[in-house]
Structures are given as structure tokens and as C-alpha cells.
């Protein structure tokens, strides 16, 4: 699946065209055009202030867009808040996980969307489906879906947060620094999970500062530089050095922004 299949490029599931966004006099996004493909991990990299967070917030509908359009499955859409994004099939896993420590894994995964019958919760059904989702993601480190989230390690929590996002047949998942606070083994688990999400056909957007993670798990790398897309490269055609150059200077050799554009923004 992974490897050869990657060359066959399907239509992008989520696409932005010439997105512009200003906060007052400061233009944060300049004509940002990014495509997310099903079955691929798209890494979104860039220095602090490059516009990664703003871009994600524009997709989620937290920030409005000044000009340009967001296309979902080929059709232009306008998203006003995260719930509308969720209704389309776009989920976001933020750094501060948004899990309730005093609830179990199942309860967290179904929070706000509980299965109910006659006004009462159907716990058994939810536990079964939570297990199915975790099994489908080959999560093997959890001994019971009745465990409290408070008792989980950082990696397991990240796993639950991601599983929660994909429980709803979502098609695109944004992961914001999923490995930032994790140790080596746990990073390993989460990266495997990220890869499996893509292998299961989801479009994954990985926002990361960690070049090792990006090189390991991404199919395509989009580098943002001061609000512009510096370059969009295939992971197999690039190197850590090149990505770092794109992040820090906006250009690398003959790819990237033109010398004039790259320097004007500074």
C-alpha cells in the first residue's frame, strides 16, 4: 500500500486556493494553496510565525478568510466553526489533547456524541465500538477501554485523542505537534499510528517541528515561510537539509520562493 501506491495521485480531498489572511496591517497568509490527498501524510512545516496555526484555524473556521477558497472534495465550502468542519469530515487534534482525565477511554472517545437509547447511555455498545476503532488502528498498548485517561502515558493519551478524531468516519485529520511531549518509544507508537491512518485512506496533515518525524512518516512536505508556501516537495525527493533551508530562508537551490520574494518579506 505504502510505497508504490503513493505514486498514483488521486484528486485532493481538501484543497485551498490562494488563501489570504490579515490581522490588521499584518498579512499572515499570502496566496496559500495547499492540497491534502487521501491516503497520504502531508507534513506542514515552518518556523514559528510562518502561518501554520493560522492556516489550520482558517480551515477549522476559527479564523475567517479574507480571500481565496477552501475546496472540499472538489467543491468550494465555507466553514464557520469546528463543528461544521467535523460535519464535513475534518477533525483536529490539538497539542493540549482536550481529554477529560476523570473519564475512561471510551467515555472520552464518545464525549458529546454518546450513543443513547431512550435518553440513557448505551455503554456496552460504545465500549465495543471504541475497541473496534483502536483495534483497527492496531493500538496494542491499552489493556482496557475502561481505563481512566488519567492512568495513561503521554503516548497512549495522544493515541486516544487521535482515535477519538477518527471515530467519526472523518476523512481528513489535522495533527498539531503530536509527538512534541513524548519519549522515544511513545513517539514511535504515535508515528506508526499516523502512518496507519493514511494507510487506512485518510488524509493526514501533520504539523511538526521535528524533521525526523517528518522524514519518517510524511509523503509530501509543504514548507511555509513567512505566510507563503515556499515549496511543496515529495519526501523521497528531499532531505532534512533542504527542508531546513526552506523553513529558514524560504528557498533552497532552484526550488522555493524567488530570491526577491524571499527577501522582501523580511
Amino acid at each position: 500500500m505504502h510505497g508504490g501506491g503513493r505514486q498514483v495521485v488521486a484528486d485532493p480531498i481538501l484543497e485551498t486556493r490562494d488563501l489570504n489572511k490579515s490581522f490588521g496591517a499584518v498579512q499572515v497568509l499570502h496566496d496559500v494553496s495547499i492540497s491534502v490527498y487521501p491516503g497520504q501524510v502531508t507534513a506542514l512545516v515552518g518556523d514559528n510565525g510562518a502561518g501554520k496555526s493560522t492556516f489550520v484555524k482558517c480551515i477549522a473556521g476559527i479564523n475567517s478568510i479574507d480571500s481565496g477558497e477552501v475546496r472540499w472534495q472538489g467543491k468550494p465550502v465555507t466553514v464557520h466553526d469546528p463543528r461544521e468542519a467535523a460535519a464535513l469530515g475534518i477533525e483536529f487534534v490539538y497539542q493540549d489533547l482536550a481529554l477529560a482525565d476523570n473519564l475512561t477511554i471510551t467515555q472520552n472517545m464518545y464525549l458529546g456524541r454518546e450513543i443513547r437509547r431512550g435518553g440513557f447511555l448505551v455503554n456496552g455498545e460504545m465500549e465495543r465500538k471504541a475497541r473496534e476503532v483502536l483495534t483497527g488502528l492496531s493500538v496494542r498498548t491499552v489493556s482496557s477501554v475502561r481505563q481512566l485517561v488519567a492512568s495513561l502515558s503521554g503516548g497512549q493519551r495522544q493515541t486516544v485523542a487521535i482515535a477519538k478524531a477518527v471515530l467519526w468516519n472523518s476523512k481528513v485529520v489535522f495533527l498539531d505537534e503530536p509527538t512534541a511531549a513524548l519519549g522515544v518509544a511513545q513517539t514511535r507508537q504515535v508515528l506508526d499510528l499516523v502512518r496507519r491512518l493514511a494507510d487506512n485512506g485518510l488524509g493526514v496533515v501533520l504539523i511538526s517541528h521535528n524533521m525526523n518525524d517528518v522524514m519518517e512518516v510524511a509523503d509530501r512536505v509543504v514548507a511555509l515561510y513567512l505566510g507563503r508556501v515556499a515549496a511543496e516537495v515529495s519526501r523521497s525527493d528531499t532531505s532534512v537539509t533542504q527542508i531546513v533551508e526552506l523553513i529558514t530562508t524560504g528557498r533552497s537551490g532552484d526550488i522555493g520562493l524567488s530570491r526577491a520574494t524571499a527577501s522582501e518579506s523580511i
Partner: protein
Amino acid sequence: MTDEPKLGKRPVAGPAAGPDSFLGKDSAFALDDEPLSIGHAIRSYVNRLRTGDPGALPSILGLLVLGFIFSRVSDQFLSLNNIGNLPGQSAYIAVIALGLIFVLLLGEIDLSAGTAGGVCAGFAAQALFSGGLKNGVSGALFWTLACFMVLSLLLGVWLKAWTGAAVVLIGLLILTFGLEKHVLGAMFFAVTLGTAIGIFTGWLVAKVGIPSFVVTLALFLAWQGVLLFALNSQPVGIQSYPYWYGLANNNMSNTWSWVFTIVLVGGYLGYTLLRAIRARAKGLIAESMALVLVRGGLLAAVGVVITILACQDRNPNVGFPISGIPWAMSIPIVLMIAATIALTKTPWGRHLFATGGNAEAARRAGIDVVHIRVTAFTVCSSFAALGGIFLSSSTGGAQLDLGAGNILLFAVAAAVIGGTSLFGGRGKPRDAIIGALVIAIIPNGIGLKPSLPAQWQTVITGAVLLIAATVDALSRRSSSRR
């Protein structure tokens, strides 16, 4: 997982992740694959103790220790007569604490629960005493009260607290048709007034955004004055109303006591049995038959022993037999069961726990956090009104300081001693009942020994509360260390 190759080959997606992944203790869902046996239940309980969730254990131990000490102090303590008095002495604390649990679960506090209960019971007593509230209080107060309830009704509708709004509407109808001059109408009116107060409090906290400590501190003070207005500064007795007075002082007949116990134990056993059978049929996580039967059997044994003891004549004076389960025991138990179902079996209860555990997570999950807060305060004040009725029942009337003084603090202490966390997110209705017994057993035991000065009462209560709070703090620390 750690020895995977770095790049390239990755585990294939899907459930078939390897033949050995579901074997062995560490593998996925090992604990979910077999029926939950007695051993599992005990192990998971011990595990909960170790990971900082002591549950009811400290409060039950406290109850036993205090009981042991007092049985040494006075041989009257363990007499059926004395034990039979305990429910009547603790019911008002238990009921107010039951309501407080909902607010404490959110990490909020309601300092006004005691005096709010006093106001509600005060209006009800005045209405009974003067044959209708209109005759009892000044016209200005009557219309202020009616307007307040209409305001709460509108707030309830606006904040989507439908049930609360409906209850307030019933209260307004009672007022309109003058039904509050009958004893049941008066008591029900008190509860609806509590609901109205709760919506108002919840609105101030959740929508206006004033810290609950300040809002309820202000209301704690204000309701004491309102009570004086309601009673026209004259205490009102309620001893002549058997339904009301009986709440804290009368018992169910022996027959009904047995019916109560059998329905309760049978209902629990039937529910858990049915749940286990259905879960197994559907291949869900199920409890083993042995676990269900042993647990149900233990409950049945306790219930039967209590009922046998309760059905004996416990009056030391021959000729006036007193027997049966006190109403002050059965009603709080039924309320506790209702509260437990609301908290653990409904989406509302789940959302309440989530909001208390991580309000931001709840908000992101699409939960209307404002609605949850308002309804929690509404439930709390409704229970408080009932607590006020129990309180006036046990003291024989609506005094001028009904619900003031230490009562709210005792109720908070009961919840905390029972194991509810003041930081929110952790607590059970059961805690209120056990904690209230601990609180009530102290004056009860001390009162039996005239040589033991009453000063000890608050000192011992304070010490017990401090121990409970220490256990809570230590267990939180041990659970956050990992």
C-alpha cells in the same frame, strides 16, 4: 513497538496485527476479553486504591472507628433505639449534600444551599400556617416572590434548562390556585421555589460569570433575611402536619419496610443480572455470573439484616412500639439512587463529569457547558429545598435561623468526607449519604455521655473533616505523580 525498522516497512493496518498481539497480559484489551470475575473486581478495586481513588473506604472506616469509640463511651450507643434515631438526625445533611455533589463535581461550590433550603421551607411553613401564602406574607413580598419565579422560569427557558423551567411553572400554578395551603402542596412548592433559586444562582455563575463562591456567599447572607420576611419574624411550628413532621420522625410500617427492601435489592439484582446476560449475548464486556450474584447477595444480606433489626420494637418504653425503616432513611436512599442514575446513565451526567474534569475538552466536544452549570445549580438548590424541609421536620418547625449556621458547612463536609473532591470531576451520590452519617454520628455519640462536654462535638467533626481532606489531597498527589 520499539524495535520496528526505522523507515520503509511498517506494520500493516487492520485488526490482524500479529498472531501474538492478543495473548499475554500486556496485549490489547486483555482485561476486556474475558468476563469480569470476582478476582477482577477485587483486583481493580485494589488498583483504584493504589492509584489514588480511595472511594468510600475512608468514610466507611471512619464510620466504623467512630462507632467503635462511641460504643465504648456509652452502652446506649449501639442500642436499636439510638441507631434508629440516626437517619432522622442525618437526613437533612444527606439531602443537602446530595444536591451539593452535582455542583462540587463541576469544581464549583454552593454556600447558599443551607439558607436557600431554609427560605423554601420557611415559605412553605408560613403558607401552611396561614392557610395560603397570600394570607401569610405582605402583598409586596408575595408579588416579589411570584415575579422572581417568573424571572427564573424565563431564565430557565432561555438557558434551555427545560426540566427546571417546567418545575418552576408547576410552582407558579400551585401559587395561582392556592394549593400551598395543603401540606403536600406546600412541600412541593418549597421544592419548586428551590428550583427557581437554583436557576437564578446558575445564571449568575454560568452566564454572568461571577465566581460561584461569591455569588453563593452573597445569597447565603441574603436568604437569611428573606427567611425573616417570610416568617414575619415569628417561628412557625410544623408538628401538627403529620406528612411533614413524619419525614424525619416517623417510620414505614413493617410490611412496607420489607417491600422497600425487597424492591430495592431485587431491582438491583435483576438489573445487574439482565445487564450481564445481555452483554454476554452481544459479546460485550460482561460481568461473570459469580460476581453479579456475590455482589447482589452481599447487598441482599445487608438489606435483610437492616430490615430485620428495623422491624423490631426499638422503643425502650414498653407499650408504645416503634418499628420499621425510618422515612428519613428510605427517602434519601431513593434520592441517592435517582441521582446516581442521572449522573452515570444519562448523557447529561456524563457531560457534567466531563465539564468538571476538563471544561475545555467538554466545550470542544460540543457540550453546552453553560447549560450544564445552570442545571447543576438548579438540581443543587432543589435538593436543598427538600433538605430544608427535612431540617424543619427534625427540629419541629421553621425557626428564624432555619438552614443558617453550620448546616451548609456540615453538608459540604459530608460530601468531602464521603470522598467527593472539591476540585471537581470526582464524586458519587453515595458519598453524601455515608458522609452525612459520619457527621451525624458525632453529636449523637457525644450526646449519650453527659460527662463528655459538647465542646468536643465541633472539634471532633473538624478533625474528621481534616483527615478526609488529607486523604483526598494525598490521593490526588499520588495519582498525578505518574
